[in-house]
């Protein structure tokens, strides 16, 4: 099935973005998501693993088997990387449209 733009919920998108650099365990994901969103998204373990379960079922992330740590690590799958890239290009196009329509300034703020 063809993946459409903006199919990912905000938290799922943020988790994929956090995993784009390297495999991470639960708390590392939470910290990275908080940093990436400038403190706007503050996850707790329940919400995190609800999204992780969904992403795992969709085949967008997978568990890392050998980590040398007792924590469970997750990484992006190839499909997850594609979904993230599609989502980012959608956002990029949307931001450019916002600028063209003079809703956004070039710095990204609202006019």
């Amino acid at each position: 099935m063809k993946r459409h733009f903006s199919q990912l919920p905000q938290v799922a998108f943020s988790i994929l973005l956090a995993l784009s650099l390297k495999p991470r365990h639960g708390y590392e994901i939470i910290k990275q998501v908080e940093e990436d969103s400038a403190g706007k998204i503050k996850l707790v373990s329940g919400a995190l693993y609800t999204s992780i379960k969904k992403l795992h079922e969709q085949g967008l992330i997978e568990e890392v088997t050998e980590t040398g740590d007792t924590r469970r690590y997750y990484k992006l799958t190839e499909e997850g990387g594609k979904a993230l890239a599609a989502e980012l290009s959608y956002y990029q196009a949307t931001v450019e449209l916002g600028r063209k329509r003079q809703i956004l300034t070039t710095q990204g703020g609202l006019k």
């Binding site: 365990h25 639960g26 708390y27 707790v44 373990s45 329940g46 919400a47 693993y49 609800t50 469970r72």
Partner: protein
């Protein structure tokens, strides 16, 4: 910190077993990491509270998901039976809610018996019929032997149990007139006096 983690571990038991087996341990570990990373006691307390408040939402969501999966995998007659039974219970909820907003009283008498007694009773029979057929056709009994399977199939039992509760409320306590005629604030007193 340890008592907080122990409480959280115990609280995780409300999650569906399949989900808990898979994600329970990482959830606890994540909370441990989060709390260990906080400097002040107040910050640790805030993290713990946020996590605890999130748990009922996660639980409800996971139960809804397991219910959805059961319905997705269930045979057509089970899906249709459960949907129809649920719809039959709606008038009961509507009539009680409307009576709570405004005492509609007398005007509801005619359809009151139908809404609060007959329809839930039909829903109960239909729900039970679905269960009996599932038990016979799919050997549901052997699948439900473990608590895990019972949790996974909760949705099939929810409607008959709810319908039974409604019928018991209306019939067992002779409370039909209390719901349909009585002032909502007096429903419980009326039922207990019936």
């Amino acid at each position: 910190m340890k008592p907080f983690i122990t409480i959280y571990k115990q609280a995780l038991k409300i999650l569906p077993v399949v989900y808990r087996n898979r994600y329970g341990e990482p959830m606890v570990r994540t909370l441990e990491d989060m709390m260990a990373d906080q400097i002040t006691a107040q910050a640790k307390w805030n993290v713990w509270l946020r996590t605890m408040f999130d748990l009922p939402i996660t639980t409800a969501y996971q139960y809804a998901q397991t219910g959805g999966k059961t319905m997705h995998q269930a045979p057509n007659y089970a899906k249709q039976g459960t949907i129809v039974s649920t719809l039959l219970l709606v008038p009961f909820i509507v009539i009680v809610t409307l009576n709570s907003i405004h005492p509609l009283t007398k005007s509801w008498i005619g359809i009151g018996y139908l809404s609060v007694f007959i329809l839930p009773f039909v829903a109960l029979l239909l729900g039970l019929a679905v269960l009996v057929r599932l038990f016979i056709a799919h050997d549901l009994w052997s699948r439900l032997k473990s608590i895990k399977q019972l949790q996974n199939n909760w949705i099939l039992f929810a409607v008959p149990i709810l319908a039974f509760a409604m019928v018991s409320f209306a019939f067992g306590h002779d409370g039909v007139h209390c719901i349909t005629d009585g002032h909502p604030s007096k429903i419980m007193r009326c039922v207990s006096n019936s």
